[in-house]
């Protein structure tokens, strides 16, 4: 037997294909971006922070080779003849020729379908961020998960010297000394008593008394020899890592669902809400979402209805703000909840209502919230609501932001103040 060897490679470099995978994603960025965009349309706001299965058209990623097309004379030898004789004729199958003709379909496993694969959370967010034109620093902040803080969690018997808890260690040393020393002390007490008794009888020079004295000396040595502190006594402060966010927040999504908000505008709005949500997940442990949609009246709905149902009619924005204020009062007392508001609209509002909206925000809502962001998804001219809101901008620096949005890259500036604060 010459040189048979076994090499265990299982613990060698994993993920050798990571580079190739990265290359693949880079190469088909535009197709993947489209797939991600479709996926965002389908997934809920709270799902933003996970991986995604996407599909891109198989023909886009085909690797062509010179091969024969259909036509001409083909022959194929097949196994399992059950009925044919030489010279027989057979119907041509409907799709594709016999044999070789359908090889192309099996090459990619699933034929003409999309080439489907799963993007990791990082890859997904990366593409999501790309559309939104986020600055890099913000991207890394949002994509990061390794934020922990260390909290105390009792005491352990092992650790590093800096974590020694002196009080606890000495207390347990004392306990040990008591526990170990007690039998000797009891004996000592008895011996002393016995000696005292002998001395009382005047027999202090007897042999028995001498033995007792030696015993007492021995016991004293033993008690002396119980160590003052032992490694066994040491106690260390224990700290465990827990994810940093430890507070709760509520995010209000307000959206105009009047007839003029079409599907595309809603998709832009959805990304706006998603980005805020993603930001909040980095800061808070527990986040409630409240969806308020409005036309002339406002209603609290679930996410599905929020994005997908359509209403017609006029627009009274203040109805939504009123509802928001009411919900805050009922459910989210501002001392325990961090409140964030995000409003999306096409700017259309009933003329007389806009000043009222400004007043409500100014006096009742902004004082209660951490941040209120407003986006107006492009209308030709700024509408009356915009003009009213503009008056608010100077009044609440760092707490109120507004932006007119034509496309996805315009969303980020709304949050600029918010992220700046966070990164500082």
């Amino acid at each position: 037997m010459v040189g048979v060897r076994i090499v265990d490679r299982r613990f060698d470099s994993k993920n050798k294909s990571a580079v190739n995978r990265g290359r693949f994603i880079r190469r088909f960025k535009s197709q993947i971006r489209k797939a991600v965009s479709d996926a965002i349309g389908k997934r809920g706001i709270t799902d933003i922070d996970s991986g995604e299965k996407v599909g891109i058209p198989a023909k886009d990623i085909a690797e062509p080779h010179f091969h024969h097309g259909r036509g001409g004379i083909r022959s194929d030898v097949l196994p399992g003849n059950d009925r044919f004789h030489a010279g027989d004729e057979a119907e041509r199958p409907e799709d594709g020729g016999a044999g070789e003709g359908n090889q192309g379909a099996s090459e990619d496993g699933e034929g003409q379908d999309d080439f489907a694969f799963t993007l990791t959370r990082e890859e997904f967010l990366d593409i999501f961020f790309d559309d939104l034109a986020l600055p890099n620093l913000v991207k890394t902040q949002l994509a990061r998960v390794d934020e922990y803080k260390r909290i105390r969690a009792g005491f352990t018997q092992s650790g590093v010297p800096t974590n020694i808890n002196i009080v606890r260690s000495l207390r347990s040393a004392a306990g040990r000394r008591i526990a170990v020393g007690t039998p000797y002390r009891r004996e000592l007490r008895e011996a002393k008593q016995a000696l005292a008794d002998l001395e009382a009888c005047g027999q202090e020079h007897s042999e028995e008394a001498e033995q007792l004295r030696q015993r007492i000396a021995r016991l004293l040595r033993k008690i002396e020899n119980v160590p003052f502190i032992d490694t066994f006594d040491l106690r260390y402060n224990n700290r465990v890592r827990v994810p940093a966010p430890s507070t709760q927040a509520v995010m209000f999504c307000l959206m105009d669902v009047s007839g003029s908000m079409d599907e595309e505008k809603k998709q832009i709005a959805k990304r706006f809400f998603m980005l805020l949500y993603l930001f909040l997940t980095r800061t808070y442990d527990h986040i409630d979402l409240v969806f308020i949609r409005h036309h002339t009246t406002a209603a609290e709905v679930d996410e599905e209805d929020f994005f997908h149902s359509r209403e017609t009619g006029g627009t009274v924005v203040s109805s939504a703000l009123e509802l928001m204020q009411q919900i805050i009062a009922e459910r989210y007392a501002s001392s325990t909840w961090n409140i964030y508001g995000a409003q999306a609209s096409d700017g259309d509002n009933w003329e007389n209502d806009s000043p009222r909206c400004r007043q409500m925000l100014d006096e009742h809502i902004i004082p209660l919230v951490q941040y209120f962001a407003y986006i107006e998804i492009i209308a030709a001219e700024p509408q009356n609501l915009w003009r009213e809101y503009e008056k608010l901008e100077g009044l609440h620096p760092g707490r109120f932001a507004m932006q007119r949005i034509a496309g996805l890259p315009d969303i980020y500036p709304v949050f600029r103040e918010l992220f700046k604060k966070r990164l500082a």
């Binding site: 048979v4 060897r5 076994i6 190739n20 097309g69 036509g71 001409g72 022959s75 041509r92």
Partner: protein, 503 residues
């Protein structure tokens, strides 16, 4: 032979047991006279197996998006449980590398060792195609060189530039092999030393070809009508040597893709033989050990179950039918060959007078060394096997309404059937016959490719896209002609890529 105590057969393997099995299998392989490279067994995880899949099984490879795509496709199939991974990958190198997946049971590991480390291994070492075209001692080194070289190019010229070039080369890789020529012998070390030299030399040759100064009159008169004088089948080779605008590093990358393609070409030409050979040997070696009493019945049950799965051939009308299974056909042919040698019938004596009754080991050795799929089938497919497989030939002529059954497994059909099956494994007729026909040296420097039609088959629909790749490598217009079987030539299309776009 006295029965021996069976080797233990727990479902979990251990390194010691693998070594014990390997030793016994090796002993029996030597008994049968199998000539193998020494081998190295590597234990890997499923994920590493998928990595290896993505790069055609090689332990090192340069980076390219298409490997990422293959990885994703494999991963998806595996995660969904649609497909199991192959139990093994074996690499034609010296020492021969065989991968064992950690999920395999002890029985499977033994099967893989017999199949890959002895079966495939001895095929690689013996078959003439592998002996001629591959240098087992150098392939890993060459791949390391290729990976480093391409990484260096990426650094120097940008990932996009290199990726575009590799895309074009990959697309043309199946017309980038020498199908009939024999290679010159050149050890890798020398090859690397000569790299720089070659770059400079090639460039000067190209310059010579495209020299714009007027040439002397008499030479002009003798100028051949075409360049190259003989049609060239290896398009990538021609581009590497003659494309006017490629930089030296681009020529080297073309060469790398071409070399690696050529390295794998024998595998594509010997699928039936090679897989059949490996199946025959794992079957024979394991059965031999069982007969010696070294294997338990439990082991054999599991072994036979895997073995029959691998060599199963569903009939044409089954929904599991996916063409002829090379494992099944190959295994059956090698078994049949042994049968012809050992227990010939009257029919065999008539068909294979030289083989019938001869020593099967030397017959095997001869067949192993001197054939590829096409010729192996033409030589050894026996009437009995055609009957066993119930083979029949179907002819699809687009000019006819109906498909025709040309031949079946009967006295009149055997030879036709055999010839047609052999042709089916001839890569030369299975793939389009495309030749470099002419370069317009005096005029617009255009390159003319000619497709020689085989049985009136046209080129597939990816034709134009591929011509675009050719044009981007060539840098000047590329013409595609088609010559039908009567010898008539027509121009199919002309393609020009504006090269400045890329600069």
């Amino acid at each position: 032979m006295s029965k021996r105590t069976p080797l233990p057969c727990p479902s979990e393997w251990t390194t010691e047991l693998i070594l014990a099995y390997d030793e016994e299998i090796g002993r029996v392989a030597a008994h049968y006279g199998l000539d193998c490279y020494p081998h190295l067994l590597e234990i890997i995880t499923a994920e590493q197996m998928m990595d290896a899949y993505a790069s055609i099984g090689m332990p090192v490879y340069y980076h390219h998006w298409s490997f990422g795509k293959h990885f994703l496709a494999t991963e998806r199939g595996y995660r969904r449980g649609q497909m199991g991974l192959a139990y093994e990958i074996v690499i034609n190198s010296d020492p021969c590398l065989a991968y064992l997946m950690e999920e395999n049971t002890m029985t499977m590991q033994a099967l893989v060792i017999a199949h890959a480390a002895y079966g495939h291994n001895s095929f690689f070492k013996g078959n003439y195609l592998f002996r001629t075209w591959t240098s087992a001692d150098a392939i890993i080194d060459y791949l390391v060189f290729a990976k480093n070289y391409i990484a260096e190019c990426e650094e120097r010229y940008g990932e996009d530039e290199v990726e575009r070039l590799l895309d074009s080369c990959h697309a043309l890789s199946n017309v980038g092999v020498d199908r009939y020529k024999r290679p010159p012998k050149l050890p890798l070390a020398k090859e690397r030393e000569r790299l720089k030299e070659r770059e400079a030399y090639l460039q000067s040759q190209v310059n010579e070809l495209w020299r714009t100064l007027p040439q002397r009159e008499d030479k002009q008169a003798r100028e051949p009508a075409r360049y190259p004088e003989e049609p060239e089948e290896n398009l990538l080779y021609f581009i590497e040597k003659n494309a006017p605008l490629l930089a030296p590093w681009q020529r080297e990358v073309v060469r790398i893709v071409r070399k690696i393609g050529q390295y794998f070409y024998p595998q594509r030409q010997t699928q039936v033989m090679n897989e059949g050979w490996a199946c025959f040997w794992h079957y024979t070696l394991i059965n031999h050990l069982y007969d010696e009493g070294l294997l338990t019945d439990g082991f054999m049950m599991e072994f036979l179950q895997s073995h029959t799965n691998v060599v199963a051939q569903p009939p044409y009308n089954s929904r599991y039918y996916n063409g002829l299974n090379p494992y099944a056909l190959g295994f059956a042919m090698w078994r049949d060959l042994r049968r012809i040698c050992e227990e010939p019938t009257a029919e065999d004596r008539e068909w294979f007078p030289d083989l019938a009754g001869s020593d099967w080991r030397s017959a095997f050795d001869f067949a192993l060394r001197n054939f590829k799929d096409e010729s192996f089938i033409a030589q050894y497919l026996s009437p009995k096997l055609m009957r066993d497989f119930r083979l029949f030939a179907l002819v699809d002529d687009e000019r006819n309404e109906m498909l025709k059954i040309d031949a079946i497994h009967d006295e009149q059909g055997y030879r036709t059937l055999r010839q047609m099956l052999s042709d089916q494994y001839n890569l030369g007729s299975r793939e389009p016959n495309l030749q470099v026909w002419n370069v317009d040296l005096q005029g617009d420097r255009s390159l003319t490719l000619r497709h020689f039609q085989y049985k009136r088959r046209p080129l597939g629909e990816s034709r134009d896209e591929l011509l675009r790749h050719v044009a981007s490598l060539w840098g000047f217009p590329v013409r595609l002609e088609e010559q039908d079987e009567k010898g008539e030539v027509r121009l199919l299309t002309t393609m020009q890529v504006d090269r400045r776009k890329h600069e």
